[in-house]
């Protein structure tokens, strides 16, 4: 339980860092850290397969997407960064406060689960569920990846031809 | 007779209307004419029929019922007669117009809708056809001259709002009576029933074009194609509006002559008569003047039906028929004049009787008829309305009589300005209209005389059966029995004539008649001169008329302002307010969404 709590606090702080980090690159890295912590939480919650996916895809692939996208854009000049960060302090300082207040409120209200939780007896294999029970989702994913690949073709590749 | 035959008067004109839309210019008129003829034949066939056609309709308790009986047969027959005559007229009048296919299509579809509305015995079915006529009304005005779209929109909005009132009235009376079948409804006018009646009445009289729902008609007179004026405000809308008013007054609601509803109708009727005719008096345009008369004459019908005594109702219905006859004739003469001279501005017209004797003759017959000169048909219907009005109160009688006086005066002016006097230079080459245009005018004008001389025929054969046992065995045809009424009418007409001659004389300076033709159309011009030259009582009388006209004008414009400016500006102000909230920032959009989500969550978790 204590380890869980520590992990959750780490996750929250990493997320906060992602929001408040000065440069985009740092924010992307902070996001990767959040993802990594989420991975550990998943392991703790007895979901190793999903955790592996989270680690490889979210921590790896999405961070790669972010970093490459950020590197394609021109970073702000130093003066702009200074101006932004002054501004940013004014805009962001109360985010942690709100988060803490919300957490305290939820803790004090003692929001309870007021329904009988179902207990699923048959603990099935993940692969079995994915390929047999939830086959439809797999087909949906295939179509989505197809659509996404067209999107990437349109949004990334053809733009070089425009030369802009 | 198979009941399915009742579908034909709806389907045939509708189908041929659609056909006319896609026919080449050469044959459009032919298609329309054949369709109108078939419609007329059907109407004759159905004239004495008494058939009911029932079909289940949708899944929720409505039945599509068509019912042909005495009254509907009469209305359909009358409408069919006008339709074929006006189609004949149009084959010449619209020959060169590119939009003639649309005109024929809308006209024929209007006929289909009218037949449907008249035959329908279910309020929802009737509403369906009723709204269909609104649509074609819009189309017919919109195809007129370039600015007509605005007028069409105005007409659409005004009539549309009134139809919404009627829709509400239908819902209310359906709710109260528990059925939507017209012949089964029988309601009291107490409480909500009164509201239902008023809502339905608004729908009916706005269709007929009564005050205060009239202000699109004079605009349409200038903007819309002329045959539209002859058939729509001239004939069809009166027929259907007054038909429905009669249905709700006699069949659907239990009314007695001393109810407040009757008073409301009579007040609306007499106000319409007097205000509209005083407006007509100062008009300078042939068609616009006629259009104000088209409004004013509705007042007689509403007054007549509003009296709720047999004489008045018969008078109102007879007046409906007569008005349709002479008003469409008048509009058709206007059309002939417009076609031959290219204008309807009274300042530019004059002396046409030599060039267009037949048109002038038709105009003269219709004009004396609308003025109520015995023995033309207008006289008899007006006498019956007077009779009814007198029974209910002197004030309504006087209003009707005053209307008669002003009507006669304005038609003397119109006839004088357009047909008598010296012909202007531009119109010297004008000639008589072609036979296809003359024929409808002659036929309609001859009906003025026929229905005048043999007035017992339409009253006894067509109108009295509608009232059924309400008549209590009386017979209202023939010459009025009360000679005092006749004498009063004749006196009023003579007064109007004297007034006119006097006005002409006084206005005429050195060149006499010529000068008059230049100035007479602008009646206010006469007023100005009369003020200087005439002895007092006449000047005072004219001043009163002038003031009344001015008041009527401002009332008219006021209503117009409400429709044109107030609603529109208010709506656009709201619209701009909402638009300025859309500032393009996705964060703002997201914030609205989250705020909305918060509200929904709080509301649902309460």
């Amino acid at each position: 339980m204590t380890i869980d709590l520590i992990l959750l606090v780490m996750m929250t702080i990493a997320a906060l860092w992602a929001v408040m980090a000065r440069s985009l690159l740092k924010a992307a890295i902070a996001l990767a850290v959040t993802s990594a912590v989420v991975t550990i939480i998943m392991f703790r919650l007895a979901s190793p397969l999903a955790a592996v996916f989270e680690l490889s895809v979210c921590t790896g692939l999405i961070t790669a997407i972010f970093v490459s996208a950020i590197s394609l854009t021109r970073p702000l000049t130093h003066a702009q960064t200074i101006a932004m960060s002054k501004n940013k302090f004014r805009r962001y300082w109360y985010l942690p406060v709100i988060m803490v207040i919300a957490a305290a409120a939820l803790f004090l209200l003692k929001i309870k689960v007021d329904v009988p939780l179902p207990q699923v007896l048959a603990i099935d294999d993940v692969r079995n569920i994915m390929w047999n029970l939830r086959q439809l989702d797999m087909y949906g994913q295939i179509v989505l990846i197809l659509a996404g690949s067209f999107g990437i073709v349109i949004l990334f590749r053809e733009s070089d031809k425009d030369g802009s | 007779m198979r009941p399915e035959i009742l579908l034909l008067p709806i389907l045939i004109p509708f189908a041929s209307g659609v056909l006319a839309l896609f026919t080449s210019r050469k044959y459009r008129g032919m298609v329309a004419l054949i369709a109108a003829a078939m419609n007329l034949a059907l109407a004759c066939f159905l004239f004495k029929a008494n058939v009911i056609f029932t079909a289940p309709w949708a899944g929720f308790g409505f039945e599509f019922i068509l019912r042909a009986y005495q009254f509907s047969g009469f209305i359909i027959g009358a409408a069919a007669c006008f339709a074929i005559l006006i189609t004949l007229y149009c084959t010449v009048f619209l020959k060169e117009k590119a939009f003639s296919n649309q005109f024929y299509a809308y006209l024929l579809i209007s006929i289909a809708m009218l037949n449907g509305a008249v035959l329908a015995d279910n309020l929802v079915a009737m509403l369906f056809f009723w709204e269909g006529m609104l649509l074609t009304l819009f189309g017919l005005i919109a195809i007129g001259r370039p600015g007509a779209f605005k007028t069409a929109t105005k007409a659409f909005v005004i009539v549309g709002i009134c139809d919404l009132c009627m829709m509400a009235g239908i819902a209310l009376s359906g709710h109260l009576a528990g059925t939507l079948t017209i012949s089964k409804i029988s309601l009291d006018i107490t409480g909500l029933g009164g509201l239902a009646f008023i809502l339905l009445m608004i729908g009916a009289i706005s269709k007929a074009g009564s005050m205060p729902f009239h202000s699109w008609i004079p605009d349409a007179a200038l903007d819309a194609p002329l045959p539209f004026m002859a058939i729509f405000p001239g004939a069809l809308e009166k027929l259907i509006g007054i038909y429905f008013l009669t249905r709700i007054s006699l069949d659907m609601f239990k009314l007695d002559p001393h109810s407040w509803v009757s008073m409301v109708m009579m007040i609306v009727g007499s106000l319409t008569i007097v205000l509209a005719v005083s407006m007509a008096l100062i008009q300078k345009d042939y068609k616009r003047l006629l259009s104000y008369h088209a409004i004013s004459q509705v007042g007689y019908m509403i007054l007549g039906i509003g009296t709720l005594v047999p004489a008045g109702i018969i008078g109102g219905l007879f007046h409906m028929l007569n008005n349709a006859i002479y008003k469409s004739c008048l509009f058709l003469t206007g059309g002939a004049v417009e076609k031959e001279t290219g204008t309807t501005d009274l300042k530019k017209l004059g002396g046409l009787w030599k060039k267009m004797p037949v048109t002038f003759a038709c105009f003269a017959v219709a004009a004396v008829s609308i003025s109520g000169v015995p023995p033309f048909n207008g006289f008899f219907s007006k006498e019956l309305v007077y009779d009814g009005a007198l029974e209910r109160g002197m004030i309504f009688y006087i209003a009707a009589l005053l209307g008669s006086f002003l009507t006669a005066a304005s038609f003397l002016k119109l006839g004088h300005a357009a047909y008598l006097g010296k012909i202007s230079k531009e119109n010297e080459r004008a000639k008589e209209a072609p036979i296809q245009m003359l024929l409808p005018m002659i036929v309609i004008a001859s009906f003025c005389i026929i229905f005048g001389l043999w007035n017992t025929l339409p009253i006894q054969k067509l109108i009295q059966p509608i009232l059924g046992e309400r008549l209590e065995g009386h017979n209202y045809g023939g010459f009025p029995t009360n000679m005092m009424l006749v004498i009063a009418t004749v006196a009023v007409l003579l007064a109007a004539l004297i007034n006119h001659i006097f006005g002409v004389k006084k206005s005429g300076s050195g060149l006499g008649a010529v000068d008059h033709i230049h100035h007479a159309p602008v009646l206010s011009g006469i007023y100005d001169k009369a003020e200087k030259r005439l002895f007092d009582p006449y000047a005072i009388g004219l001043k009163i008329v002038d003031v009344v006209s001015k008041i009527a004008w401002s009332v008219d414009r006021g209503i117009d302002w409400v429709y044109n400016v107030f609603f529109v500006d208010a709506a656009f102000a709201v619209s701009n307010g909402i638009r300025s909230l859309h500032n393009g920032s996705y964060a703002a959009y997201l914030a609205w969404s989250l705020a909305g989500a918060g509200l929904v969550i709080i509301f649902l978790m309460r």
């Binding site: 989702d137 067209f150 949004l155 053809e158 | 369906f128 989500a597």
Partner: protein, 476 residues
């Protein structure tokens, strides 16, 4: 057998992208056209041997699809609007590569929507929502011009928030029911209806759907995305994507999961009424034709929601009917807007005028759509509006009925303004040389106009045979 609607397009879109791309680029259009026509024919033939009677369970391998009458109506709308969009794309997108990509995306969007209407599992529903949405995002930006990208970004962002909301709700429902199929969740909810957790899940899910459907005040993205989207994409998006992913899903979720509680009814009625009124007012002041249509879409969707909110048989069937009609006539209006954009080069209404003279087919069909939208008999839109208003009246929501009736005047007003500025009157300077839209667009608009008129004229037949059986969704 319903799985065919899923399988054939999927195989098709993969085949199209195998080698021989040159050949495939030429055949892609015909393949997609045949696909959609095939779907139209299958749905409208309505044979019991194919569909079975009532609730049909189809499967291939282990995939379960469920088809009822509501699904059939939606399948029909999806295929016909996709066909219209395809035809518009043929005329509007000149670059062959772009067109090929667009057609592929159109097919994937159609797969997504077919999936949405046929699944009975809340998570699969989410998957297909994303399929349809992602395809739509990319279709909007097909030309990569700045406004389209801007509109697409707003749509993506708000849509992502909506899916986050739905997913959170799915998480809570998973906690409550232990499964994501409709049956299990519905059973779990009905066993503990007063639970706060259930109510929270319901509220969040509804909010997500409100964003997807673009209802007031969740509508911010909608006018921007509709007005900026590439013409064929705007036809698809306005005609069917938001309707399926927002409104159909709302109808399905409320009827088969949450049921009508008084609070839900009230929320739906309020949001519906707000959408009707605010959408209509905002449409009134627009200068951009497509933007006006977008606001009009919000207003019309409000009618659907307000009718559905009554929860009565008449209200729900009326709402479904209006959903169908709206899909048809709104895509018709957008097809016309595409024609105008193509020929006149602008959709700014101040610069248009008199196009009926040079573009008679476009002018006539847009007049039909406008009349149907404003609820003028005997066109289809009139009937659905009348049914909704009667349903409101019968259920005792007289004030809402009055709002619905009065706003239809406003609807007529702004659409008349549109017609007058764009199509009637004198031809605007610079547009004298415009000509009728390309054949493909004309075909699309004629098909859609014919459906609108046909449904209106044969209303009793259509209503009794196709729309009325939809009431089965109310019986759980």
């Amino acid at each position: 057998m319903p799985a065919l609607f899923f399988l054939i397009p999927l195989i098709g879109v993969i085949t199209l992208n195998l080698p021989f791309r040159k050949l495939m680029k030429k055949t892609a259009f015909w393949f997609a056209a045949v696909l959609f026509i095939f779907q139209i024919v299958l749905v409208s033939s309505h044979r019991t041997s194919f569909w079975g009677t009532g609730l049909v369970q189809g499967s291939f391998f282990n995939v379960n699809f469920y088809v009822d009458h509501l699904t059939l109506i939606m399948l029909f709308s999806i295929s016909i609007v996709s066909l219209a969009s395809l035809l518009v794309a043929r005329a509007m997108i000149s670059d062959e590569n772009k067109r090929f990509n667009f057609i592929n995306l159109l097919i994937t969007a159609a797969i997504g929507m077919n999936g949405i209407v046929m699944v009975k599992d809340i998570f699969s529903l989410y998957v297909f929502l994303e399929v349809a949405a992602v395809s739509a995002f990319i279709m909007i930006t097909i030309n990569k011009d700045k406004p389209a990208l801007e509109g697409a970004f707003k749509y993506i962002l708000l849509s992502a928030i909506a899916t986050i909301m739905m997913l959170s709700s799915i998480g809570l429902l998973l906690l409550i029911a232990g499964d994501t199929s409709f049956g299990a969740i519905s059973a779990a909810i009905s066993s503990s209806p007063q639970s706060m957790l259930v109510k929270l899940a319901m509220a969040i899910f509804l909010c997500g759907l409100f964003i997807k459907g673009g209802l007031i005040p969740f509508h911010g993205w909608l006018p921007d995305a509709y007005s900026a989207a590439a013409a064929p994409a705007s036809v698809l998006l306005a005609g069917i994507v938001t309707k399926v992913s927002g409104i159909y899903t709302l109808i399905r979720i409320v009827t088969s999961l949450f049921g009508f509680t008084p609070a839900v009814s009230k929320v739906l009625l309020l949001i519906g009424a707000a959408s009707i009124v605010i959408g209509a007012f905002a449409a009134l002041g627009q200068k951009d034709l497509k933007r006006m249509l977008a606001y009009s879409s919000i207003s019309q969707v409000g009618y659907i929601i307000i009718g559905f909110g009554t929860g009565s048989v008449l209200g729900v069937t009326g709402a479904v009917f209006h959903l169908f009609n709206h899909a048809i006539f709104k895509s018709l209006l957008f097809v016309n807007a595409a024609a105008v954009e193509k020929e006149a080069g602008t959709v700014d209404m101040d610069r248009l005028g008199g196009l009926s003279q040079t573009m008679p087919i476009t002018g006539t069909t847009s007049a039909i759509a406008f009349l149907s939208t404003s609820g003028i008999p005997p066109l289809a839109g009139f009937w659905s509006k009348v049914i909704i208003i009667i349903a409101l009246w019968q259920a005792g929501y007289i004030a809402y009925a009055a709002v619905a009736v009065l706003t239809s005047v406003l609807t007529a007003a702004y659409l008349i303004t549109m017609q007058r500025k764009a199509f009637f009157g004198n031809i605007a300077p610079g547009l004298e040389r415009t000509k009728e839209a390309p054949l493909a667009i004309c075909v699309a608009s004629i098909i859609l106009a014919a459906v609108t008129v046909g449904v209106g004229v044969f209303f009793p037949f259509v209503f009794n045979n196709f729309i009325m059986p939809v009431k089965e969704i109310l019986i759980k």
